[in-house]
């Protein structure tokens, strides 16, 4: 009661942003305390889309549980599945064929591209420009078609299985990806014309949502959020999996720590992903696409941790096995969860419009946070 009176006296305005709000990209609920237009505090309330995937996985076998992880970060479904497959493979100690590795890396990078395209459109829409969203989806649609042709689904593919991938590549895959590369290279300058160069957009991004390198590391931010603060943290570089140590790509780093830096990092990541795809698309080795595995997978007793770089940051899959058919405990360290925890720090003292921009550049995917 006293607190309420105190709040009334200070003139705080408390607003619920979400769970149904156009810019929270899902069912995120933020309670923001305002002083006029200035944000004093942001308090996320999570769980509106919590499905307890971790608990569900405890009753699913090692082949079955992978499909459910596509539903966490649905924009990088391939990469989520990849992380799970890697953890299971670590437990089984199997080597996967080179062709499967190449396919996995290709799919990962295409997914990253698709995810960043959606992010770009959604960010522009958050700051008020609606047209870029459609332009982003035009290219994303091409990628989705490629995915559909090879994996059989557009969003939740469940294509990576322990030991490799589920099917071989579609015969058209190579030519269509090459077409996509030419197309996307011609469209990227349009992205810059429409959004990057725009003076209003730059002003909305610059000096907004600053987070220093120390704070970002302390908050456990990963991916473009941390790279925007100038800390190198790409799992593909630091703990390479599959073929990433043999590939040529650079990790974009910006030192600004603000939304603009995060924006530039993601734009550069798109180019780098394109570069990786270009390196691999002509060099897909012949061979098996799946290693021979037993019909029923059993992991030895122990703990297995795999880390991959999703479009949003580091995804960790922690499997505790008791030697049974199902995982004893599984924990997904999702990138969005940690990135969200820094939201309050970034948004304090900024305007309401900035909160939207910050959420946009954090690229929050709510199912990834709630799991």
């Amino acid at each position: 009661m006293l607190q309420e009176v105190a709040q009334k006296e200070t003139g705080d305005l408390v607003i619920n942003v979400g769970p149904q709000h156009p810019s929270t990209h899902g069912v995120l609920h933020l309670v923001i305390t305002l002083n006029g237009e200035t944000i004093k505090k942001v308090e996320p309330h999570l769980g509106y889309i919590h499905r307890s995937i971790e608990k569900m996985c405890e009753s699913l076998s090692y082949r079955q549980f992978i499909y459910s992880t596509s539903r966490m970060d649905y924009l990088s479904a391939h990469i989520n599945n990849h992380a799970c497959a890697l953890a299971v493979e670590k437990g089984l100690q199997i080597e996967i064929p080179e062709r499967a590795q190449v396919i996995r890396v290709l799919m990962d990078e295409l997914t990253r591209l698709a995810s960043h395209q959606l992010w770009w459109g959604a960010l522009a829409m958050d700051v008020g420009a609606i047209t870029p969203f459609f332009h982003a989806f035009r290219e994303r649609e091409v990628l989705n078609d490629i995915m559909e042709e090879t994996c059989g689904a557009r969003l939740t593919m469940n294509y990576m299985v322990p030991g490799g991938v589920m099917f071989d590549l579609h015969p058209n895959f190579q030519s269509r990806v090459k077409d996509f590369i030419t197309l996307f290279k011609s469209k990227l300058p349009e992205y810059d014309e429409l959004v990057t160069g725009n003076v209003i957009f730059q002003n909305r991004m610059k000096q907004v949502g600053f987070i220093s390198a120390e704070d970002a590391v302390s908050y456990g931010c990963t991916g473009p959020t941390l790279r925007g603060s100038g800390v190198s943290c790409d799992i593909r570089k630091h703990h390479p999996y599959e073929l990433y140590d043999k590939l040529q790509f650079t990790e974009p780093l910006e030192t600004g720590g603000d939304c603009w830096a995060r924006y530039l990092v993601r734009m550069e990541e798109m180019r780098q992903s394109l570069h990786i795809v270009e390196q691999l698309i002509d060099n897909i080795p012949e061979g098996e696409f799946q290693a021979k595995t037993k019909a029923v997978l059993k992991l030895p007793k122990g703990e297995f941790y795999s880390r991959v770089e999703t479009a949003r940051g580091e995804l960790g899959v922690y499997i505790v096995s008791e030697g049974g058919l199902t995982p004893y405990r599984i924990k997904f360290r999702s990138p969005g969860f940690s990135n969200l925890s820094a939201l309050d720090h970034m948004a304090r003292g900024q305007k309401i419009g900035d909160l939207v921009a910050i959420m946009g550049t954090l690229d929050l995917v709510i199912p990834d946070i709630d799991r």
Binding site: E37, V127, G128, I130, T131
Partner: protein, 359 residues
Amino acid sequence: MEFSLSAIANQVDTWLHANCASWLALTIEFVIVGLLCIALFAVLGLVLIMMERKVSAYMQLRLGPNRVGPKGMFQTLADTLKLLVKEGLTPNGADKFLFNLAPFIVMIAAMLVLAPIGFAKDFVIWDINIGVLYISAISSIGVIGILMAGWASNNKYSLLGAMRSGAQIVSYELSAGLSILTIVIFTQDMSMGQIVASQADGWWIWKGHIPVIISFIIFLIAVTAETNRAPFDLAEAESELTAGFHTEYSGMKFALFFLAEYVNIFIVCAVGATLFLGGWMPLHIGNWADFNRIMDYIPSSVWFFGKTFFLIFVIMWFRWTFPRLRIDQLLNLEWKYLLPISMFNLLLATFIAIQGWYL
């Protein structure tokens, strides 16, 4: 015999005066004008919303509405019908009187500004001799309706949207007024009819040198802000405040707000066309007598609506290209850029006018 709205108006006027007492004729004329205004509003709403949808669709690589009627032409009609039969909710904690009054205030303010605008040659409701002043005075009444709506909704989003709108319109009124003043300096008259008449030998945008071009750009920016259109749609800001001041409105009351937005766009663009692009004056080029005669054959109302719709298209083009500004940037733009530039521009215009460097 060319098509002329003023001829029709004169015929009606003579007929009425011949057949009725003069007071009755005046009353009937009032009623006719009122009905025409409302009809214009309804038609404008349908046309402009359709236009906005098509413009946005083509810019966004879409087709836009294409199912209801030929090429989707009746889509807005169907939407209006839907809004008409929809339940108009009033939130529990709302101030009922103000809540219901607000959309009408916005609407009436938009309607009043129509008075001094010349739609065609000699076709104007009331060519008041301080027309420019009247327009800038009345057009700022609309914000009261918005503030009322935001406050009466008893919703924090609405309140924030309304406060933003208030700050915005108060600021941008300044530079809109100053850019209009440039034209007033050149014409030395505040009546809209006189301003149009002064452009018989060339529109101000052609013969007004640099100051008019600058003030035209400033005018476009300022009126975009005044009508709460993107990139200055902070009062609505659907990604921040869901729908701003009309979050709680539904049904017909929402439709009134929606309609008022488009009517306001029409009005400011009509004012812009009158001041800078010569109103209903046809395009004349120097002494190309043949060309000028052809241009004269086009009815003056077509010229007026053509210019107005061109400006409306430009404002829609803004909306579907640009991101939204933040509230402090919005005020910065006004106070740090537009206002100093338009003040300097005013000085320049005065200097040019004194020197008589225009035609």
